[in-house]
């Protein structure tokens, strides 16, 4: 896509040389929310990168900090949450959250889709208006060009009769079509990164598959990187190149998708996988993970998963760092033992 290509060329040559293909680099990110009881840190020391054209699956339970991680990448934390420390480097240049130029750079270079398309689309504006606006803001094109482009985009995301649908309001089309329109808005103007925050959770299973196919096709055609956030491991298995598993605000395992599914190394990831129903599995019962996620204001000082972990030992009271293990990284003191147990 032309706009994406234009983006690359705008960077200085030094950046291009040093970070040729890294699209987004989240470095040691900590997010703070001030509650009446005191500050909590729902995202802690998260480091995660995404190459151009790559799909990274970010998985974890509700409340593990995956959505806040996305929102801090695109700069939508709002007024209650803030970045406590760490940084986000986009296309080789660190983002300053307060710099209006960086704000523009971010909104041009990134698109985001959310869980519930019905509430994310403006009810009093037509689909065409909303897609055209996104295109117009990102590219600075005229309204007329944007309107024509909006119809093409609606067509691109697989909305039938795009010309007529462009005049429809969100409430007139189905949830699946709404999500397609959201995707059209997010990719209007050709951003280099698409953040998909639980994009299929609110949709029927058949529609889920269609949306996944659409995202995969768009990625092939446009070549954007996708940060795919979900709590559904089975879903992300189909699309992700690499996987990051988050637990209680930290990344606990980072590995190529194949490796992670073949041989999960972190006890939490293993717990997640055994709690999943796979059709080809020969088991009668799913094994839930015992216990619950510790509350934000009472995080244990060491490994947050230790209270629920069958392998926990005294060493788990010190926080584990992300270390290399097999093809990936895990944050667990018992990483090496994992190999023998899993094998």
């Amino acid at each position: 896509m032309h706009a994406a290509a234009g983006f690359v060329s705008r960077r200085s040559s030094a950046d291009v040389l040093s970070e040729m293909s890294t699209l987004i680099d989240i470095r040691d990110l900590t997010v703070r929310i001030d509650l009446p009881e005191g500050p909590v840190f729902p995202v802690r020391n998260v480091s995660l990168s995404l190459e151009e054209g790559e799909t990274v699956g970010l998985v974890g339970e509700s409340g593990c900090g995956k959505t806040l991680t996305c929102l801090s990448v695109i700069g939508l934390l709002g007024r209650r949450a803030s970045i406590e420390s760490g940084s986000v480097v986009f296309q080789g240049v660190e983002i300053d959250p307060d710099d209006p130029d960086d704000k523009r750079r971010r909104s041009r270079g990134m698109g985001i889709i959310f869980q519930n398309p019905m509430t994310c689309l403006n009810p009093v504006r037509t689909l065409g208006w909303q897609v055209a606006e996104a295109y117009q803001i990102r590219t600075g094109e005229s309204r007329r060009v944007a309107q024509r482009r909006a119809t093409e985009l609606l067509d691109l995301v697989g909305i039938p009769e795009p010309k007529r649908r462009a005049a429809d309001y969100p409430h007139q089309v189905s949830g699946g079509q709404q999500q397609r329109a959201m995707i059209a808005m997010a990719i209007a103007g050709g951003p280099a990164l698409l953040i998909a925050d639980e994009p299929t959770t609110a949709l029927d299973v058949t529609i889920q598959a269609q949306i996944l196919d659409l995202l995969a096709r768009l990625q092939r055609e446009i070549g954007m990187g996708i940060l795919f956030v979900t709590h559904d491991l089975g879903l992300v298995a189909e699309v992700a190149d690499r996987m990051a598993v988050m637990y209680a605000g930290r990344v606990v395992e980072l590995a190529p998708a194949d490796a992670l599914f073949a041989q999960p190394r972190h006890p939490y990831t293993r717990g997640l996988l055994t709690s999943l129903p796979f059709l080809d599995d020969d088991i009668d019962r799913l094994t839930p993970i015992e216990g619950t996620v510790p509350p934000l204001h009472a995080m244990p000082p060491g490994c947050a998963f230790a209270p629920r972990c069958s392998q926990a030992s005294p060493i788990c009271s010190t926080p584990p760092d992300l270390r290399a293990s097999g093809d990936g990284l895990i944050a667990c003191h018992h990483g090496l033992k994992t190999d023998t147990v899993a094998a």
């Binding site: 939508l76 509430t119 403006n122 009810p123 803001i137 990102r138 007139q172 189905s174 808005m185 997010a186």
Partner: protein, 312 residues
């Protein structure tokens, strides 16, 4: 906007109108004899009886009622008991002056109320929010007559900047408009603020922010059209309060409009005039509500097009 929707609204409007007119008609007939008010105390009973027959007050109330409606449908709202001129003409002469005052008030209130409410919502809990909300509370807790008198004291008596009463130049309008618009603008600002606060927290505003829409774009193109429905509602409702306020304000500032005619006619028991004005006010209110209903459909495609599935 389908025909059924419009006709239901229309029928309801007519019913409301009938209810109001009937109520006022009956209340006016059972609360006293106009000849007591209008004729000198020393006139004889034959003369009173003569006027009762002239004005039709000798007939039973239900008969007067039917006759009134019959005439009203032919555009005849009776004659003034005071000078025998047709009531409709007398009222109609006053209407432009009240409309002038009302329009100026309406525009002033919108021009101040909406931006203030929007700003208060954007910068919630800031000084501008607190100032706007203090102004709003002041505005609609201050009785019109009191605010009017305070203004006269300050600007007419002490500063001698503005005429204290009367009609003619723009200077005559300043104080009456300010008096009336304060309460109206306060109510609009409050409702605009709460509607905007609600809308600004919606997911689609976050979507707009993600795509890089500027603050003014998000506020005026994304949020405000959604907040407009509750704002229009309160504007419609406030119209009733404004008409009431206009009666008081016209009297305070000796503004020669319908409001003053109403108070003097009530005092004199000039039934035809009072009834005519009540019908006029009721028609205004009913029309305003009808327009508000139409505006909903215009503002919100979910109302206009109905909900549910692919409609085409």
């Amino acid at each position: 906007m389908n025909l059924r929707y419009v006709s239901i609204k229309l029928l309801r409007a007519i019913f409301t109108l009938w209810l109001v007119v009937s109520f006022v008609f009956i209340v006016l007939r059972i609360t006293g004899d106009p000849t007591e008010q209008l004729l000198p105390d020393d006139v004889g009973e034959e003369i009173r009886e003569y006027y009762r027959i002239l004005w039709g007050l000798d007939r039973p109330v239900w008969e007067q009622y039917l006759l009134y409606f019959k005439a009203a449908f032919q555009g005849d709202f009776g004659v003034s008991f005071r000078n025998s001129q047709p009531a409709l003409d007398l009222i109609w002469q006053r209407v432009p002056k009240t409309v002038e005052l009302g329009t100026a008030t309406f525009v002033t209130a919108l021009v101040f109320g909406i931006p203030l409410g929007v700003m208060a919502a954007i910068w919630r809990d800031s000084w501008i929010d607190r100032l706007t909300m203090s102004f709003a509370v002041f505005g609609f807790s201050m009785p019109n007559f009191f605010l009017g008198i305070l203004l006269i004291l300050l600007f007419a008596m002490n500063l001698r900047m503005l005429p204290s009463s009367g009609y003619g130049t723009w200077e005559h309008m300043v104080m009456p408009v300010f008096t009336l618009a304060t309460a109206f603008a306060g109510a609009i600002a409050r409702f605009t603020r709460s509607a905007m606060l609600d809308v600004l927290s919606k997911d689609y505003i976050r979507t707009a922010e993600a795509e890089g829409a500027s603050m003014s774009r998000r506020v005026w193109l994304h949020a405000f059209p959604n907040a407009a429905v509750p704002v229009v509602t309160i504007v419609g409702f406030s119209l009733g309060g404004m008409i009431g306020g206009a009666v008081v304000t016209e009297n305070v500032f000796a503004w020669p409009g319908v409001g003053r005619l109403l108070t003097s006619s009530v005092a004199d028991r000039d039934l035809a005039i009072v009834q005519g004005i009540v019908v006029l006010v009721a028609i205004t209110m009913v029309t305003a509500n009808f327009l508000v209903d139409l505006a909903y459909g215009w503002l919100d495609p979910r109302i206009r097009l109905g909900s549910g599935g692919q409609s085409r």
